[in-house]
């Protein structure tokens, strides 16, 4: 049938056979619909690429150096001429990226065009004009319906050829995106097999991309997750101006208002819905516009239920989905019940950079400061990850400072400088037990950032540098002159070319 005409050249033997087979099935059994599906399969498969990446992570234990390079692989698909979409985690910390199209063994070098670690998406550009010539890029579709069938394409482990698995959409909800570890967006659960190597591959329905395969849950059988079309489309809109700005964050901590007594206490009318505001994170978008005990009844005029959900194209989703789709700088309208009246507030969405410390870090190098063998770093998620299973291995005061203190303090997020490591030398070896303590002061001056430390050491007047560490008010003292003398010796002995990255 003419329908197979797009398959180009006898060299594409497997595709040709598959196409002929499809025609055969069509002819015998199902007819034109199956032939159409086969054509779509082939068109989709031609747009899919395997991605081989040489990754090299920063070393958060020895922050002046990098870890050993490793080889990883993932999947991707063409969304434009020589433009590929994949997951951020496939290409993060990449030193070299090589892509290959399905049925084309030629390697092409690719470069990251845009990368969004918060939504685990990236686009690559392939400089070679021969790449993807004649291939029709895939288009992004819409949110699929529950229980509808989807196909996942990619290059999972266990073989070198393209793989296609089928399943159904089993759940649509907000989920944590594991790449950053701290962002939640819309995600779709499917029983279509998603395995290592599938990452970045498209999830297809009716010939369109309705998702990007990205993570699985090893505790559950036959469960995979993909990034749905609204998140993909938002990413593409974001980068359309030539840069990725990321998500804004309302910064509102809410509680449900399912309890009738609570609703009565707040003076809500019987038919009023909404959620109560427990807290606003200082510096987030809603700071100064929304206050504790406000009841948010609607977002952009979409009513919010007492459990915090909205009706989103027939799905019950977290109300923040409305804000999720907006770009930085766009206005959000919240309808609030405050002091017995309904009012509207509008405020622009802003990026909440203070929360970056909660995210895993990629494509960046750790900040550090080494002085006389004392290695100072800032507390963030990567620092905690250097403990391995940090819930079990990290000191509890670090977990408190990172995960809880910003919620319990009116100040919100605060920086913490950690004595991360001691490079043993006669001048400091007796302090080995003080590793992983928080630096409170240097010579009586509060320390919040590495820059404070650098300034404090430079401007110190006395004969000693005196650090106070917590918890427990530990005292660490170094003779100023002797420390200055030991400093270069230690750097040389431990192979550190630069004593700081600030």
């Amino acid at each position: 049938m003419l329908i197979i005409a797009p398959i180009r050249g006898a060299s594409n033997y497997v595709s040709l056979l598959r196409a002929l087979s499809a025609v055969w099935v069509t002819a015998l059994a199902i007819g034109p619909a199956v032939a159409e599906a086969a054509f779509e399969d082939d068109r989709v498969e031609r747009a899919i690429v395997s991605i081989q990446v040489t990754q090299q992570r920063s070393d958060w234990y020895s922050p002046w150096q990098r870890t050993r390079p490793t080889q990883t692989s993932g999947s991707g698909f063409l969304i434009g001429p020589r433009r590929i979409m994949t997951n951020a985690h496939v290409v993060s910390d990449a030193r070299q990226i090589i892509v290959r199209r399905n049925q084309d063994s030629r390697p092409y070098f690719a470069e990251i065009e845009f990368i969004a670690h918060d939504s685990d998406l990236a686009t690559l550009k392939v400089p070679d004009p021969a790449f993807g010539r004649g291939v029709k890029p895939l288009e992004v579709g819409n949110l699929p319906s529950l229980r509808s069938r989807v196909r996942t394409y990619g290059y999972p482990a266990g073989g070198e050829k393209i793989s296609r698995t089928e399943g159904v959409v089993s759940r649509i909800q907000f989920i944590t995106y594991l790449h950053s570890g701290a962002d939640s967006h819309l995600g779709i659960q499917t029983d279509s097999a998603i395995n290592p190597g599938n990452s970045g591959g498209p999830v297809i329905q009716e010939g369109q991309v309705i998702g990007v395969a990205f993570q699985t849950n090893v505790r559950l059988n036959d469960v995979g997750y993909f990034i749905p079309a609204p998140v993909i489309r938002r990413f593409l809109n974001d980068i359309s101006d030539g840069g990725y700005d990321g998500y804004g964050d309302l910064g509102i901590v809410i509680s449900n208002l399912i309890n009738p007594s609570y609703r009565k206490f707040l003076g809500l009318h019987k038919d009023m819905m909404g959620v109560v505001v427990d807290r606003i994170l200082p510096g987030a978008s809603a700071d100064g516009f929304v206050f504790k005990n406000d009841v948010i009844t609607a977002i952009d005029d979409v009513p919010i239920m007492t459990d915090g959900t909205i009706d989103y194209y027939g799905y019950s989703l977290n109300f923040e989905q409305i804000a999720e789709e907006k770009q930085i700088g766009e206005l959000v309208k919240l309808t609030l019940w405050r002091d017995g009246k309904l009012i509207d507030v509008r405020f622009p969405l802003r990026a909440f950079e203070e929360a970056d410390r909660m995210r895993s870090q990629f494509d960046t190098f750790p900040r550090y400061f080494v002085f006389a063998g004392l290695v100072f770093m800032e507390l963030n998620r990567e620092y905690l990850k250097s403990f391995g299973n940090y819930w079990e291995n990290a000191d509890k005061h670090l977990l408190y400072a990172h995960f809880f203190s910003f919620m319990e303090s009116e100040k919100g997020f605060e920086d913490h400088v950690i004595l991360a490591r001691i490079l043993p030398h006669g001048i400091n070896s007796a302090y080995a037990g003080m590793v992983n303590y928080i630096v409170n002061t240097l010579n009586g001056v509060p320390i919040r950032k590495l820059e404070d430390l650098e300034l404090g050491l430079r401007s110190s007047q006395g004969a000693f540098h005196r650090f106070e560490l917590s918890p427990g008010e530990l005292v660490l003292v170094l003779d100023k002159e002797k420390a200055a003398k030991a400093h270069p010796e230690i750097l040389t002995a431990y192979g550190i070319d630069k004593d700081r990255r600030l």
């Binding site: 901590v253 509680s255 449900n256 208002l257 399912i258 309890n259 009738p260 007594s261 609570y262 009565k264 206490f265 109560v276 427990d278 807290r279 007492t306 819930w391 079990e392 509890k396 005061h397 977990l399 408190y400 995960f403 809880f404 919620m407 319990e408 001048i427 400091n428 007796a430 302090y431 037990g433 000693f464 005196r466 918890p471 427990g472 008010e473 530990l474 005292v475 660490l476 003292v477 170094l478 003779d479 002797k482 420390a483």
Partner: protein
């Protein structure tokens, strides 16, 4: 290993052919060691009005002077019934704990039936701890046979007691025997040198004879209320620059007092940045060790419980001046802790309020998550324990009140997910004890009760109508079978 598992190990070990010699018929059976069977039934830390299923534990006790038996507190905790048996044969005699010191992990028992004491004689206490070499491990098995094995001393280490903050030297040793940890009796040359308190992977820990002696002495004193605790945190001064900074000469003594906390020995007399040079006549080296005449080098904190004298002399340096002081020996009673150690032999206080189960946080509660509770229990509670288990003020009543769980009821609809949440305020009053909570709920605000929770643990406020409270409480009690107090 949890008690049930340890019992299983003990029973299993009893049912197999022992690799260690058992006494034959021609050997005299020990007259200073008896077997102890304990029926124990603790309260359920998660539903504190319930007791969990009873379990039977078997261990050992030693005959001491004054017709008393000594064993570990761990073995007799939460006991409903204590029974002792001599020579491994019928009959069993009921026993009663007359003194249980969980800090020392020791208990004294008495048996009132005079028939029990015939044929028994006290096992003599060793004059001095055995510092090196082999010892004999003695125990009664469940099958009525007496068993001896051997072990070897590794060292003595100043360590915290399992249920408190008292610091004392613990005997550490090795053995090939298995299923230990139930007050097996260590002897050397026929003298009692210790009771095994724990056992894992061939390593044992034992309460040594000095402490047994100390308990016997203390028990005879009418003033005895328990042993002392350290009321200060300290830091080594083993770094040259640090010593120079504090203008210390190189006389090789002195540790730094970092801070003091309410209660405990030294809390009244010591100040932050004091340099402590000697304690009870011992020089403290810059790493915090004293040269003990019996044990050799040990952490100086053991000197706090060397004797029962009410005060301990110290020499310290404050603002460059040396001075002599005496520290009042004092202790944290269980109720003095902000987060108390496990509380045995008594029910845990609780309040059920519209289906919310409120308790004061204890280590016993955290231990409901098993031996690995530091990693498995709710993170925020473990953090609170790690950072703030001692009270911050002089108020002994200062505690951490938590909502441990919500018993689902129409009155708490929407609050079901609240669990292990720290209560910060109720009706505008700060909450630092269940007593505070009980007072606060007498004063609803405009007909409502407001319970504010520590942020970061889910929802931050719970609201209840006062007018419906009595009916709601009654319904919850009836539905969930909660007894009236």
């Amino acid at each position: 290993m949890n008690p049930a598992a340890r019992l299983c190990v003990a029973l299993l070990a009893a049912s197999v052919i022992c690799a260690w010699p058992a006494l034959g018929q021609d050997q005299p059976e020990p007259s200073g060691i008896v077997s102890l069977t304990v029926t124990s039934q603790p309260y359920d830390p998660l539903l504190p009005w319930n007791k969990i299923a009873e379990q039977t534990l078997r261990g050992n006790a030693v005959v001491v002077k004054g017709r008393k038996l000594i064993t570990t507190a761990d073995l007799v905790k939460n006991a409903n019934l204590l029974e002792v048996r001599k020579f491994g044969r019928y009959p069993d005699f009921p026993a009663r704990a007359v003194l249980v010191d969980y800090d020392l992990n020791l208990a004294l028992l008495e048996v009132t039936d005079p028939r029990f004491w015939s044929d028994l004689r006290p096992l003599p206490l060793a004059d001095r701890p055995v510092l090196l070499g082999r010892f004999t491990i003695n125990r009664w098995r469940a099958n009525g046979r007496f068993e001896e094995g051997t072990g070897e001393v590794v060292d003595y280490l100043v360590s915290n007691s399992p249920y408190g903050l008292m610091e004392y030297p613990i005997l550490r040793g090795t053995t090939a025997m298995t299923g230990l940890g139930w007050a097996e009796v260590l002897t050397s040359q026929g003298n009692l040198i210790g009771l095994i308190s724990s056992h894992a992977k061939g390593q044992i820990e034992a309460i040594n004879s000095d402490l047994l002696q100390l308990l016997l002495l203390a028990a005879s004193s009418p003033q005895y209320t328990g042993f002392a605790h350290r009321g200060f945190a300290w830091q080594r001064l083993n770094q040259t620059h640090l010593r120079e900074f504090f203008e210390l000469d190189n006389s090789a003594t002195g540790v730094l007092i970092r801070h003091v906390f309410p209660g405990g020995t030294g809390s009244l007399e010591l100040r932050p940045l004091d340099i402590l040079h000697t304690i009870d006549g011992y020089d403290i080296d810059p790493e915090g060790r004293i040269e003990h005449p019996t044990y050799g080098p040990l952490l100086f904190t053991m000197a706090i419980n060397q004797s029962l004298a009410p005060r301990i002399p110290v020499v310290l340096q404050r603002n460059g001046q040396k001075m002599r002081l005496s520290l009042r020996r004092s202790r944290f009673a269980a109720d003095d802790y902000r987060i108390p150690p496990p509380l045995f032999d008594r029910p845990v206080d609780y309040e059920v309020f519209a289906g919310l189960v409120l308790q004061e946080l204890t280590v016993g509660y955290l231990r409901a998550w098993g031996n690995d509770w530091r990693n498995k229990a709710p993170a925020r509670l473990v953090i609170e324990y790690t950072l703030n288990r001692l009270r911050k003020s002089e108020s002994a009543a200062e505690k951490v009140v938590i909502i441990s769980r919500v018993l689902r009821d129409p009155s708490n609809l929407g609050y079901e997910d609240v669990a292990n949440a720290i209560v910060r305020e109720t009706n505008g009053h700060a909450i630092a004890s269940l007593s505070d909570f009980r007072k606060a709920i007498r004063s609803p605000i405009d007909g409502y009760h407001q319970i504010d929770l520590m942020p970061g643990q889910g929802r931050e406020r719970l609201i209840f109508e006062d007018a419906k409270l009595a009916a709601n409480n009654a319904r919850v009690r009836q539905r969930y079978g909660i007894p009236e107090k």
